[in-house]
């Protein structure tokens, strides 16, 4: 069983803490002198770089949230001059401003390194054919896997998302051995393979690395069963680096966090207190080697817990559980992040309707479906079918143009969306996690 970087991935905890402390010290110095946002936040707390000496001092530092990135759009939190930035990525499909992340040449090297670890821990080697069906482009999935695949010397197939028929043909003709995509797309592909008449023995797939959306153990079993591969869970978010933040090894006992680059904490999302190992809370990351966009105590909103016991694979890197949910109401629909309030603000701009709505999310044929149920307002109701149909179309177009998501619209009778206690339930998520 290979380990890509035995020196760091199997490092003794004491030594690791000293490396983390040193790297945190450098990161804090960097943001203090290069990012006005952080300097001001630290000064408000009476902190200077000299107050951060060891990793334990991290609790003195302020938190960062997603809105801080939006407020400083596009490059306000960058800690490197633009001449040093060699790559930009951005979050997709949300209203207003996207979240922009920038990488220096060294950041790209770090990203390739952590992705090489990820792929190696899934069992991939230079002899593999890595079939990357994550989207390429502003989304970090495709390119993140791509650089990691090249780093380990595998043959990378940058097929990107969509065009299932071509995916199957290349998978067959090139002899893809490693599949990288979202878990729901993996299931979709499994069904497409079945329908295509291809026999499993005609394909050489042996392992899949799946992430970018929450998935259950049930889904894992289904994927492993249908595709006859090992399904490895990987975790990342573009703000921190993209994929490569954490990954399961072949023992599938939690995701090893690359904590020599991304220092994790678990906090209580209400009190912001740090919680002890084993307790469930919100995952917070501090990037301790990044140059382009270092983030201090970034609140991911993902709920999980950490395990520090040594893993059977020999790695000492802390493991996190599969994410158990979120501490906010963000939905992930076909890889696009969506907050219910974004839907609400689109509805509020339309005078013909009142923002009484309900979002119903489901998974049909392994793909996310989203339906918006919106109440017909009496003042607008004039008994003509054509008028209601065009209203429906207008809502759909407005949502699609500002959210980048195609949402099915259903007009419903007023007050049918209220629950018995009078409080409306905005989101019904029927996908099983």
């Amino acid at each position: 069983m290979e380990i890509w970087n035995r020196h760091f991935e199997c490092m003794d905890r004491e030594e690791l803490r000293s490396v983390q402390g040193e790297r945190l010290r450098e990161t804090v110095e960097r943001v203090y002198f290069h990012v006005p946002f952080y300097r001001q936040k630290m000064q408000e707390r009476g902190l200077g770089p000299e107050n951060i000496q060891s990793i334990d001092d991290i609790s003195k530092l302020p938190f960062t949230i997603k809105n801080d990135l939006r407020d400083n759009y596009p490059f306000g939190l960058f800690a490197s001059p633009m001449s040093e930035i060699v790559r930009l990525h951005a979050s997709s499909g949300t209203t207003g401003k996207p979240t922009v992340v920038g990488y220096t040449r060294r950041d790209i090297a770090t990203w390739s390194e952590v992705m090489a670890r990820t792929l190696t821990s899934a069992g991939a080697t230079r002899d593999d054919f890595i079939h990357i069906a994550y989207g390429y482009g502003l989304f970090t999935g495709g390119l993140g896997l791509h650089y990691g695949g090249e780093k380990i010397g595998a043959s990378v197939i940058p097929v990107s998302g969509g065009n299932t028929k071509r995916q199957l043909q290349l998978m067959h003709d090139f002899g893809s051995t490693v599949l990288a995509c979202t878990p729901s797309y993996a299931l979709y592909l499994a069904e497409a393979i079945e329908e295509s008449g291809l026999r499993r023995e005609d394909l050489k797939l042996k392992v899949g690395v799946f992430g970018a959306e929450p998935w259950t153990e049930n889904m894992r079993r289904e994927i492993e069963d249908k595709l006859q591969i090992k399904a490895i869970d990987i975790y990342g978010l573009s703000e921190i680096i993209g994929p490569g933040v954490a990954s399961e090894c072949i023992f599938q006992q939690g995701l090893h966090i690359n904590e020599d680059h991304f220092y994790p904490e678990i906090i209580d999302p209400d009190t912001l207190e740090i919680l002890p190992a084993g307790k469930t809370g919100e995952l917070v990351f501090t990037t301790i080697t990044k140059e382009g966009l270092p983030l201090i105590r970034y609140r991911t909103r993902d709920l999980t817990r950490l395990h520090y016991e040594k893993c059977s694979c020999g790695r000492t890197m802390v493991r996190m559980d599969k994410c158990l949910g979120r501490s906010d109401d963000m939905l992930i629909i076909r890889g696009v992040n969506l907050f219910p309030t974004q839907v609400e603000s689109v509805l509020l701009e339309m005078s013909e309707i009142k923002p009484h709505y309900q979002l119903i999310v489901d998974r049909v044929n392994n793909l996310d479906e989203i339906e918006l149920r919106v109440e017909v307002d009496e003042q607008f109701f004039q008994d003509k079918i054509g008028q209601l149909m065009s209203l429906r179309q207008k809502i759909q177009q407005n949502l699609e143009s500002s959210l980048g998501l195609s949402i099915k619209i259903t007009l419903v009778e007023p007050k049918t969306l209220e629950r018995s206690d009078g409080k409306s339930q905005r989101v019904i998520d029927r996908r099983a996690y």
């Binding site: 017909v376 307002d377 009496e378 109701f381 004039q382 008994d383 003509k384 079918i385 209601l388 149909m389 259903t410 007009l411 419903v412 009778e413 007023p414 007050k415 049918t416």
Partner: protein, 141 residues
């Protein structure tokens, strides 16, 4: 001559039409005519009732989306050519029909019409001596 028709928005789910009718029935509202226009997802129920204002209030209390719509009603012998004649009078002066429904009583047909201009339509039909029904007469049928 304007008749106030009751229009109700209905989701396509079982029991909704029953609920409308039961609500009206409990207060002895009589229904002279009824039609449902439907799409795959919702429908619009249109009714001529004995007391449209009261009916509207009753349904609103039950949280239905309901409105009163101005329509007109004519009565002709129940032969197609009389229906055609009335419609032609309207089309000749560029008044369009948004929807219509009808029913027969003995040898005569009662036709409900929603047009693009109710007042002009009434005037034109009267000029051609088409018999129009007042709301009060209609409710008694």
């Amino acid at each position: 001559m304007i008749v106030h028709q009751l229009s109700v928005f209905l989701e396509n789910k079982s029991g909704r039409l029953t609920e409308v009718l039961e609500t009206l029935g409990q207060e002895n509202i009589k229904i002279t005519a009824l039609s449902v226009a439907d799409t795959s997802e919702f429908g619009i129920l249109r009714m001529i009732v004995s007391d449209p204002v009261k009916a509207k209030l009753l349904l609103k209390e039950k949280s239905f989306t309901v409105n009163l719509t101005e329509v007109l009603s004519i009565i002709t012998p129940n032969e197609a050519r009389y229906y055609a004649k009335a419609l032609k009078i309207l089309s000749d002066i560029d008044i369009s029909i948004e929807y219509t429904y009808a029913f027969s009583v003995g040898e005569r047909s009662v036709i409900i019409l929603r047009t693009s201009n109710t007042e002009l339509a009434i005037k034109a039909l009267q000029e051609h001596e088409i018999e129009l029904l007042r709301a009060s007469e209609l409710y008694k049928i």
